[in-house]
C-alpha cells in the first residue's frame, strides 16, 4: 500500500498523528499533516484507520 496526503485539504485536527505518530506528524508552523512513512510497513491498519478518521479527507490509502 502507499499513502498520499494533501496538506492543502488538511484541517490540522491531529487525528492522524494521534492514531499513528510513526507514520504521521504535524507541521510545526501550521499543524498540517506531514507524512513520515509513505509505505507504513507494519502500520497498515493504523494508516487505514487514520485515513478513515481524517475529518478533511486529506489522507488517501492506495492499495497496491
Amino acid at each position: 500500500m502507499r499513502i498520499e496526503v494533501d496538506p492543502d485539504r488538511c484541517a490540522g485536527s491531529g487525528m492522524c498523528a494521534l492514531t499513528d505518530p510513526d507514520v504521521f506528524d504535524q507541521d510545526e508552523v501550521d499543524g498540517t499533516v506531514v507524512l513520515l512513512d509513505p509505505t507504513a510497513v507494519g502500520h497498515e491498519d493504523q494508516a487505514r484507520e487514520a485515513a478513515h478518521l481524517c475529518p478533511a479527507g486529506a489522507i488517501k490509502v492506495v492499495e497496491q
Binding site: 484541517a11 490540522g12 485536527s13 491531529g14 487525528m15 498523528a17 494521534l18 492514531t19 505518530p21 506528524d25 504535524q26 507541521d27 510545526e28 508552523v29 501550521d30 499543524g31 498540517t32 484507520e49 478513515h52 478518521l53 475529518p55 478533511a56 479527507g57
Partner: protein, 405 residues
C-alpha cells in the same frame, strides 16, 4: 418550495427532543428515529422546516460535504432562548471562524492549528497536571459534600485557557469569576450578558497589552503573525474561551458521574491506568454532551440517505444519537473502556472538527486519572437521581455534583 408544500406536515418533529428517560442516555425517541427515519423533518422554533439526522454514517457524510455551510447568517436557532424565538444570527464577526466557510474559515484556522498540535499539547501536560493537582487540593479542603463542578470541573479548563491565552496571574481570579458568572444559568440573562461583555472588554484590553508585553502565549502568537487586526485576535481568543471552557468542564463533571455509576468500569481503570486514553474516547462517545448539533445549512439541493435536502434547509445532527448508532458501535448503550470508540463524532467531523480536541483529550485524561488516584473512596454525596442535570442546555452535563471521599 419544500417549505410551502410541507408546512404543517404532521410528521415533522416540533423541536429536537431533549427529555431523557435516563440521565446518561439520549432520549429514546432519537434511537427510534435512527431506525425508522434517520433523516427526519424538524420544525425549528421560528417555523423553519429543516432536518434532524440521527445516523452516524449520514452525519459523517453531511459534515464532510462542503455543499453544507457553517455560515452563521444562514442558520435558524434550534431552541428558544429564555422562552423567546431567537432572531436570525448575524454574519460571523471577524475572527469568529466557527461561523464561516471555505477560504475565510481556513485562513483563520490555519493560524491556530500549529498551536494545537498533538506535540504542543503534550508539552502542556506537566502544567495541566499542576493545575489539576491544585484544584484537587481545593476539592479536598472543601470537605465531603463539596461540589466537584465548582471546585474542580469548571476551574481546571478555565485555568488552562488562561495559560494558553496568556492571562496574567494577577488577573486570573477576576477572569475566573466572570467566566463562572457567564456559565451559571441560575443568573439572570442580563447578569450573564453583562459578565460576557466584561470578558469581551477584558480580552480586547489583553490583546492591546500584548503588543507592549509579548509573552509565550497564543494571543501574542496571533499578533506576531502580522496578518490579523486586534479585533480579529480578540474574537479568536473569545472563541477559544467559549469553545474550550464549558465543553471540557461538563465532560469532567458528567464523566465523573458516569464513572461513579459504572463501578466495574471505574475499577478496571483503577487497576489498569493505561486504559485512560480509551476511557476518554469512550466517555466522549457514550456521554456526547453536545446535544444541539452540530448543524449545517445546505447551499444547494443535496441528496442525503434517499431524501433531498433543499438549498437553505438547516440540518441539525444529533451527536448523542449518532454516537449510539449500532451500525457503527456494537452494544452502543454499554459503557466499555475496552472497546475502541474512535470515530465517534463528539468532536464533530469535517474541516470544522474541534480545533482544541488534543488539548481536551489531555485535560480529560489528566483530570480523571488524578481524581480517581487521589480519591480512592470517591462517591456521590446525594442519590444519583438527585444530581441536577443540564437537560435543556446546548451542552449537557451536571449543574453540580456533590461528592464525598
Amino acid at each position: 418550495m419544500t417549505e410551502t408544500l410541507d408546512s404543517g406536515s404532521p410528521s415533522a418533529l416540533d423541536g429536537i427532543p431533549l427529555e431523557r428517560e435516563h440521565r446518561l442516555n439520549p432520549p429514546a425517541v432519537l434511537g427510534e428515529l435512527r431506525t425508522t427515519e434517520p433523516v427526519a423533518r424538524l420544525r425549528f422554533p421560528d417555523g423553519h422546516l429543516g432536518w434532524l439526522i440521527t445516523s452516524h454514517e449520514l452525519a459523517r457524510a453531511v459534515l464532510a460535504d462542503r455543499r453544507f455551510s457553517s455560515r452563521s447568517e444562514l442558520r435558524h436557532s434550534p431552541v428558544r432562548v429564555g422562552g423567546q424565538v431567537s432572531p436570525r444570527p448575524q454574519p460571523a464577526k471577524p475572527g469568529m471562524f466557527i461561523g464561516m466557510d471555505g477560504e475565510d474559515h481556513a485562513r483563520y484556522r490555519k493560524l491556530l492549528t500549529g498551536q494545537f498540535t498533538v506535540r504542543r499539547m503534550n508539552k502542556l501536560k506537566p502544567r495541566i497536571e499542576q493545575i489539576v493537582a491544585d484544584h484537587l487540593a481545593a476539592l479536598r479542603a472543601a470537605g465531603p459534600g463539596a461540589d466537584l463542578v465548582r471546585e474542580f470541573a469548571l476551574p481546571v479548563p478555565s485555568m488552562v485557557i488562561c495559560e494558553l491565552l496568556g492571562v496574567p496571574y494577577e488577573d486570573r481570579d477576576e477572569f475566573q469569576r466572570e467566566t463562572r458568572t457567564t456559565f451559571n444559568l441560575d443568573n439572570d440573562f442580563e447578569v450573564i450578558m453583562a459578565a460576557f461583555q466584561r470578558i469581551e472588554a477584558f480580552v480586547a484590553d489583553l490583546v492591546r497589552r500584548k503588543h507592549d508585553e509579548p509573552g509565550d502565549d497564543m494571543l501574542t502568537g496571533l499578533i506576531e503573525t502580522g496578518e490579523l487586526t486586534d479585533e480579529e485576535v480578540a474574537n479568536m481568543g473569545l472563541l477559544l474561551l467559549v469553545a474550550g471552557h464549558e465543553t471540557t468542564a461538563n465532560m469532567i463533571g458528567i464523566g465523573t458521574l458516569a464513572l461513579l455509576e459504572h463501578p466495574e468500569q471505574l475499577q478496571a481503570l483503577r487497576e489498569d491506568p493505561t486504559l485512560i486514553d480509551n476511557a476518554v474516547e469512550e466517555l466522549m462517545r457514550y456521554l456526547t454532551i453536545i446535544q444541539l448539533g452540530p448543524s449545517r445549512v445546505a447551499l444547494e439541493d443535496v441528496e442525503v440517505g434517499g431524501v433531498v435536502i433543499a438549498a437553505g434547509d438547516n440540518v441539525l445532527i444529533s451527536a448523542p444519537a449518532v454516537n449510539r448508532d449500532p451500525k457503527r458501535f456494537e452494544r452502543p448503550d454499554e459503557l466499555d473502556f475496552r472497546r475502541s470508540a474512535t470515530g465517534h463524532l463528539g468532536f464533530g467531523h469535517g474541516v470544522h472538527q474541534c480545533l482544541g480536541q488534543q488539548l481536551a483529550r489531555i485535560e480529560m485524561r489528566v483530570a480523571y486519572h488524578a481524581l480517581i488516584r487521589e480519591f480512592p473512596d470517591l462517591r456521590l454525596a446525594v442519590p444519583a437521581a438527585e444530581v441536577p442535570m443540564r437537560s435543556d442546555m446546548a451542552i449537557y452535563g451536571v449543574h453540580s455534583l456533590p461528592v464525598a471521599f
